[in-house]
């Protein structure tokens, strides 16, 4: 029985610094402050407020951006992973790409934003090259837009995909491919009936992780676009820093609670996919 006490610090810590804040969020999102009397009451005003107008646009913007970048990142990362694993003399290349992925997947946030600002921002090196030297301009592309953010997000999402999916690709046994070849299967048939089904769960799982990363990203967007692009994370920061609107703090909590719900739904979907596929993989 004494042994259980040894695990107590961990559970206490998680309860105080992880579960308590989330729980408080879930309760206080339903509180609202009266603008005249400053009295706190129970109400769904904040929850109703975030389902319409600018907040609704922010959720849609965030979902679109993270959905598109997660899928693109997954496809590109998978292609890169397959490319380096199937290289004939690829040991060096492989080590290089994997180490670089480890670095770049951790290279998010503020420094990444500034690297892109220096590249294709208004005063960027590539911007200058394209418009002054080559005279073709950037073709209407702006770094300070949804498309610009997507380009920047992929910079850490693709390496994250490579890191997550390489172990799964390595688990594909060469014998399966040989057996399929011997039985006369085409490359397409191999991927359709063997490689694809085996890889589907890890690929879906990795895509969900990419989605969660992109959905939660705040630093990069903050440094690049301020609040000109509708994103939930930026709206939360705006709501919290506003001293003018009474009850803005509660709006922030409601918005944050919405994010937790979205991520929760994604995880439930992921668990469902895992359960469905685990049956015949074990």
């Amino acid at each position: 029985m004494l042994v259980v006490l040894g695990a107590l610090p961990f559970f206490l810590y998680v309860a105080v610094f992880l579960l308590l804040p989330i729980g408080v969020l879930a309760v206080e999102a339903f509180r609202s402050t009266d603008p005249v009397t400053f009295e706190e009451t129970w109400s769904t005003a904040s929850i109703e407020a975030i389902t319409g107008g600018a907040f609704r646009r922010a959720y849609i913007g965030s979902l679109q951006l993270s959905g598109i970048t997660a899928v693109l990142g997954a496809v590109l990362g998978l292609a890169l992973a397959v490319a380096i694993l199937r290289a004939r003399r690829g040991r060096l290349l492989r080590r290089l790409v994997l180490t670089a992925s480890g670095v770049l997947a951790n290279f998010g946030g503020i420094p990444l934003a500034f690297a892109f600002l220096a590249t294709i921002g208004n005063a960027g090196v590539v911007t200058a090259l394209l418009s002054d030297t080559l005279g073709i301009g950037t073709g209407g592309f702006s770094l300070y837009s949804m498309t610009g953010l997507a380009l920047v997000y992929l910079y850490f999402l693709v390496p994250l995909m490579v890191l997550t999916i390489v172990p799964a690709l390595e688990a594909l046994r060469p014998q399966w491919r040989e057996a399929a070849d011997n039985l006369g299967a085409s490359g397409w048939q191999y991927w359709r009936y063997i490689g694809g089904p085996v890889l589907a769960p890890p690929v879906i799982g990795a895509t969900m992780l990419l989605f969660a990363s992109a959905f939660a990203a705040y630093a990069t967007a903050k440094a690049l676009v301020g609040s000109s692009v509708p994103l939930v994370t930026l709206q939360i920061a705006d709501a919290l820093s506003s001293n003018v609107v009474v009850g803005a703090e509660n709006l922030g909590k409601a918005l944050a609670l919405g994010m937790v719900l979205v991520v929760g739904l994604v995880m439930v979907f992921y668990a469902w996919v895992q359960r469905r596929t685990q049956r015949w993989l074990s």
Partner: protein
């Protein structure tokens, strides 16, 4: 959840080579296209940033002036030392918390494994901004409900701007997934049950087992976890920004308006720093690999 996290701890480590099917088919042009396009995509921003910081706009040519300006830049010293202190404290607390927990779960409490695993993986998918909004709400209890009690004093002490302990405590939560995976891999790889049973049979107490057997065995995993946590804390922006503390990343954003080249120069250096940290992890992993096969 587990499959999802295996890749994340792989950050920086180089996977063991497995026999890849002999290339019988034509390698395919798509492979080169993928490598070329993505290679360009990843190299251009880095080289452009370097060029952006070393070219001399006024006189032409090359200058290192933006790099030499960093140490003396206004606010840099405080912000950077604060971030380093936060990182050190985070590493310390995360290890003190997780080493005994991981060891216990593996040796004595296997029934708790799923719960612990699930809880440590939560911060991986939970948006930090949601967590910090919750933390802010809890901190707001001090003036709202507990004013003039010791608890309120404690809450205010946590938010001392010179060294905000609250950041340390939240960063430990953010580091949990990486620390847990790194330590768990170490414990599983080392056949710890046999070693601790031997130590126990020879009469060692549990604390002694922890210090003289477990820690030496886990040396590499502990270092691995420490490096990953260090990289995480030095780059963390969201929590510090929302709680209103100045750390290294929030400092970069603050000076970017007045000194754009310096902010890019700092970004290049921090990329370099992450690279060195992760190369060290990967070197440690490889050394462990050779030790095991020897």
């Amino acid at each position: 959840m587990t499959a999802l996290a295996t890749g994340v701890t792989g950050a920086g480590s180089v996977a063991p080579e497995t026999p890849v099917r002999a290339a019988r088919r034509r390698p395919g042009a798509w492979r080169f296209a993928v490598l070329a396009v993505l290679g360009l995509y990843f190299l251009v921003p880095i080289s452009a940033s370097v060029w952006f910081t070393v070219r001399d706009r006024a006189r032409g040519g090359i200058t290192a002036r933006h790099y030499t300006a960093i140490p003396g830049a206004e606010g840099f010293a405080e912000a950077f030392t604060r971030s380093l202190a936060l990182a050190g404290l985070t590493v310390l607390i995360a290890l003190l918390l997780m080493v005994p927990t991981v060891v216990l779960v593996n040796l004595r409490l296997p029934r708790l494994r799923t719960t612990v695993e699930l809880l440590t993986l939560m911060p991986l998918v939970l948006p930090p901004i949601a967590l910090v909004v919750g933390v802010r709400s809890v901190l707001a209890w001090a003036p709202d409900y507990f004013l003039n009690t010791p608890l309120a004093e404690a809450f205010f002490a946590l938010q001392e701007p010179a060294l905000p302990w609250i950041l340390v405590f939240v960063y430990v939560v953010l580091a949990l997934p990486f620390v847990y995976r790194a330590l768990d891999a170490g414990v599983r790889g080392a056949d710890l049950p046999t070693l601790t049973e031997a130590a126990r049979n020879l009469g060692a107490s549990w604390p002694r087992v922890l210090v003289s057997v477990v820690l030496p065995v886990l040396r590499t995993s502990v270092l691995n976890a420490a490096f990953l946590t260090l990289a995480l804390v030095l780059g963390e922006f969201t929590i510090a920004n929302i709680l209103g503390f100045e750390t290294f990343p929030t400092w970069i954003l603050r000076i970017s308006g007045s000194q754009p080249q310096v902010s890019v120069a700092v970004s290049v250096l921090s990329l370099l720093f992450t690279w060195v940290l992760l190369l060290m992890i990967s070197a440690l992993d490889r050394r462990r690999g050779t030790e095991e096969t020897a």
